[in-house]
Structures are given as C-alpha cells and as structure tokens.
C-alpha cells in the first residue's frame, strides 16, 4: 500500500541506494530531514558535467569555459524561478544553509546592529539559525529574543506584541522545525516585523524540500536552503536576498571572482551575485542541483506536499497507538511536515536508534542541533523518523513493528 499521490514504486527505481540491504534487512531510510538520497538523474548530472563540460566558470574565453558557465548560471535561473525571486542577482551560491545564515550575520548583522537592538528568533530554531545570532549579539551588543512554543509544539504568539517592537531589527525564523515537524506560518509575523522596519530571514532548509517556496508570499528579505536536503548534492546552499539589501551589504569572503578593480591600496567589488561568491565554487554540485530541481518540478511540489502529509498522518496515527511512546510536536498533521520525533519510555534514544538500525531502519537520535528546544521539551534527546518522496506506509509499519520488538528486547 502506498499513497496514490506519487508513484512511489517508480520513484524508488531512481534511487538505487534504497534497494540496499542493511544488517540483513531491506534498508528503510527514514533520515531525509538530515540529508535526502539522490536520484540517478542528479548523480548522472555530476558525471556528465565532469566527463563533458568541466572548466572553471566565468572569465574563460574558450568555448568549454562558456559551456560550464552557462550550466552553472542555468541553475541560478532555475532556483530563482523555484523560489519566486525577481532576479538571478538575488541568488547567491554558498556551501549550505548554515553558511548562508553566517553570511547574513557577518555582513548585514555586523554592519547594521548595535547595542539596544534586538534579534527575534524562536525556541525551535536549529543551531544554524541560532549560534550565528548569538555571536553577532556578543559582537554588537544586540539582544537575542525568542518566541516560545506551546504544548503542541507550535509557535506561541500570545506575547508577540511584547517580543516584536521598534527595537527589533531582524526576525529570523524556521519555516519548518527539523525536530517537531511544525510548519510555521511566518508570513504574517514577517509582515508585522516589516511594518516596524525589521529585516526578515526564513530558514527554509527543512521546508524547501517539501512545500512550495515563494519569497514574495513569505514576506522575507532573506531565505536560505541546502541542496542536499532536496535531492541535490552536498556542498551547495542558497542565500536569497532582496537586491537592495545585498547591494548595501559589505562582502563576506574575499578573493577571486568577487572583485571589480584591485590594487594594493584599494579594491572595488564585483556586481551581484558575484560579490558574494569568492573563489571557485562547487561547480559540479551547482550544475547537478539543477537536475534535483527538475526532478521536484516534474513531480510537482503540491504532489510532494500531499504525499508527505499522507505518510505523516499515517505515521502519527500508527505511532500514536503505542502507549509507551511520546510524540513531540503537533499531533495533528495539518501544517506539519514529515519529521516525527519521539521517545520510548525506559529506553534512551541512542539505544532506540541502534536497535532500529539492526532492523534495517535508519533514523537519527540526539538533540538534532536544537539544544534549547530539547530543554524546552524537557528531554535530553529524541529519536526522529523523517520521510520523503520515496518513503512508504509499509516503512512506517516496519518502524512500529521494530519499536514493539525493541520493547521486548529490553524486557520492558
């Protein structure tokens, strides 16, 4: 039984790794929130690039360099369309979403923040959207404020009026929690922030693989994502920034490509987006990211979201039947993404994960780079199962069966 929305059986044939056995059992890969698997189309794009088109991008006068540059820039165009950006000047290639947030923190943050200013994030942020702001606050004297969560794992906006004030200079929120699965309706919060003159950043690392992204509808000034969580290669991330803001920001890394004129005394900088892309980028990774976007566009992000809503609903129902299991995050699958965190009474999440591995099921255990959230939830760690386009309800059934076996193995 698989959902009817996507042809999952056909999709799975594009992912040879899913045919592997693990510890003598068929692999059930339930850790796509950490990094998704890659379809053949993406792997082939990397090979094809190196076998047929490689040369360093930009500035080359010969045909091969022009080909490589065109392939590289095609991805930029495709990403701009995928997230609804006005211009390719607004799309900066980074190594990952973390680097993209650091770019904003080091350049926009250090230039624009001072003592008395406030940054507003939420309790459910990944360390990537937390630690850079802590550092900026240390350097500038600005203060970090956090939106709490309610008992259902959703943002508690009851005190937003006191948290979001004229002092707020930046609101940086995750659109989807990597732990709770909560999908945050950031657009109205960002709209309120903008009325007060604040800049807004959305961490779309978890949401972009699963739900349609439109920077206009989100009311965001900056958006970050990582290719490797959405079928693309590791080593490629995106920073979207509104052109006006990016133009006003100082450069981040300095070196080749990002310059206009260089003397020993003075440097003038290149235009957007190159001003923020010093050095040779991960060209093959960027080129192959294009194949990942094509793959998602062919499925349709609407269908991707509906498939995941279905499998998440099924998982919440089946896991909810286990009386010794605690689910963290919303119990209702509405506005909820495909990551489900849980703990098993009497068994530490690492031992849960170890046992599931012996049953061929790959899940993640730990604090999921969200220590303040773990504290708010009153636990040290959780086990997390996360789903993507290639996962099936049968794999959810295997997870539940293995959890029951786990309890008897630990004699509980």
């Amino acid at each position: 039984m698989t959902t009817e929305i996507l042809d999952v059986a056909k999709i799975r044939t594009d992912f040879p790794i899913l045919g592997r056995s693990m510890n003598g059992k068929p692999l059930a890969f339930l850790d796509s929130a950490a990094s998704s698997q890659k379809p053949n189309q993406v792997v082939s794009a990397i090979t094809n690039y190196y076998q047929n088109h490689h040369a360093n991008v930009h500035r080359g006068m010969y045909t091969l360099a022009a080909e490589a540059t065109e392939l590289f820039e095609n991805t930029r165009t495709k990403i701009a369309q995928f997230i609804g950006a006005d211009s390719t000047k607004e799309i900066i290639f980074t190594r990952n979403a973390t680097e993209a947030i650091n770019l904003v923190a080091y350049t926009w943050g250090e230039t624009n923040l001072k003592a008395g200013d406030e940054i507003l994030i939420s309790v459910m942020e990944h360390h990537a959207n937390l630690v850079p702001w802590v550092r900026v606050c240390e350097k500038t004297g600005a203060t970090l404020k956090t939106i709490p969560i309610d008992s259902d794992g959703r943002l508690d906006l009851s005190s937003l009026d006191t948290l979001l004030t004229a002092k707020t200079k930046l609101v940086a929120l995750s659109r989807m929690s990597n732990v709770l699965g909560t999908i945050n309706d950031v657009a109205p919060i960002f709209a309120a922030a903008k009325k007060l003159g604040a800049v807004t950043l959305v961490d779309a690392a978890q949401s972009a693989p699963h739900i349609a992204t439109d920077v206009k509808k989100l009311n965001c000034d900056f958006l970050v994502l990582s290719a490797h969580k959405m079928l693309g290669p590791t080593g490629v991330g995106i920073l979207y920034g509104r052109e006006e803001l990016l133009n006003a920001m100082p450069p981040f890394l300095a070196g080749g490509e990002m310059i206009d004129q260089v003397t020993f005394e003075k440097v003038t900088y290149n235009e957007l987006p190159h001003k923020f892309e010093a050095g040779t980028p991960d060209i093959a990774g960027v080129v192959a990211f294009s194949a990942a976007i094509d793959y998602l566009n062919n499925l349709g992000m609407d269908a991707v979201q509906r498939h995941e809503h279905e499998i998440t609903s099924y998982a919440l129902a089946k896991l909810g039947e286990l009386p010794w299991l605690t689910i963290y995050g919303p119990r209702d699958s509405k506005n909820r993404g495909a990551a489900v965190s849980f703990t098993v009474e009497g068994i530490h999440p690492h031992d849960v994960s170890q046992f599931l591995d012996s049953a061929g099921i790959a899940v993640r255990a730990g604090h999921h780079c969200a220590q303040p959230l773990m504290k708010a939830l009153g636990t040290d760690a959780t086990t997390r199962a996360s789903f993507y386009i290639y996962n099936t309800n049968e794999e959810v059934d295997r997870l539940c069966k293995a959890l029951i076996d786990l309890r008897s193995f630990f004699k509980l």
């Binding site: 530490h348 690492h350 031992d351 170890q354 012996s358 604090h367 220590q371 630990f410």
Partner: protein
Amino acid sequence: MSHPLEALYRDIILDHYRSPRGVEPLASADVCSRGSNPSCGDELQVQLKIDDGKISQASISARGCAISVASSSMLTEVIEGMTLDEAVEFGENIRNMMHGKEIPEDFDLGDIDALKGVRKFPVRVKCAMLAWVATLEAIRKYRDGEATDSKIEITTE
C-alpha cells in the same frame, strides 16, 4: 535465533542500566569532574573521595544511553578501594580493550567484561569510555592540585 544486538546489550549491562549503582552524590568529595559527549548529549559527573591515596568512594550521576549509564555504574563498583595508580592502570586497560589493543592476560575485568561487545560497534565506544575518561581526568586533577570542577568533552574516542 539470538538477536545480533545481544553482544552489545548483555543482560548485565541492562541490569546496570536499569538499576545503576554509585549514583548517590557524595557529601564531601575530594575531586570531581564532568564529562559530556556533545554529539549525542550524554552527560555525567564523577565524584571521588580519596583517603591515604586510595579511592574510598566513587559516585557518578549520568544521563545518557544504556551503554554510558551501565559503564558508569560498573566503574563506581570496581574502582572503590583502588589506589590512584591502580585506578589509572585499570582505566588505561579499559581504553586499550575498547580500541582492540592487547591487555595483560591476567587482567580481571569483572562485570566490565560485558562491555567487550561494544568494540563491534565503533560509534558506541565513546559511550562506554565517557565515565572512564572523566574519572582519569578527575585523578589527574587531584594529583595536579587543580580546582575540583572542570568539564571535559569527549569527541573522538
């Protein structure tokens, strides 16, 4: 058919995990040290009472997985009554055992023999070693006359 994880989760390990020994904090410790494994969130605090060069009491409060809690519990049982030299030698033998190195033939591990199974699961060796690393650090600090509280992180055991 026996489950492949029985080599890791021996009955004696599960017994120490469910009913850990030596968890009561000491009223007056001579040295303490904390250990944590930032990659997985395991945390523990070691306290030692030392009289005439011997460990008269040991306590570890640990939050973590079955392997780290059981290892902590077994450590507090085995280490009491040892001289500091004996405890250091014992700890080094455990470290060598976990990393697949030779240990003396006549070395009596007691309950800790059950932890040998962890060697087959390299990512879990650090769980078993956390209590030992923190205890060896506590002894070093005691000998060096350092402040009684410090925190060490274990990342690459």
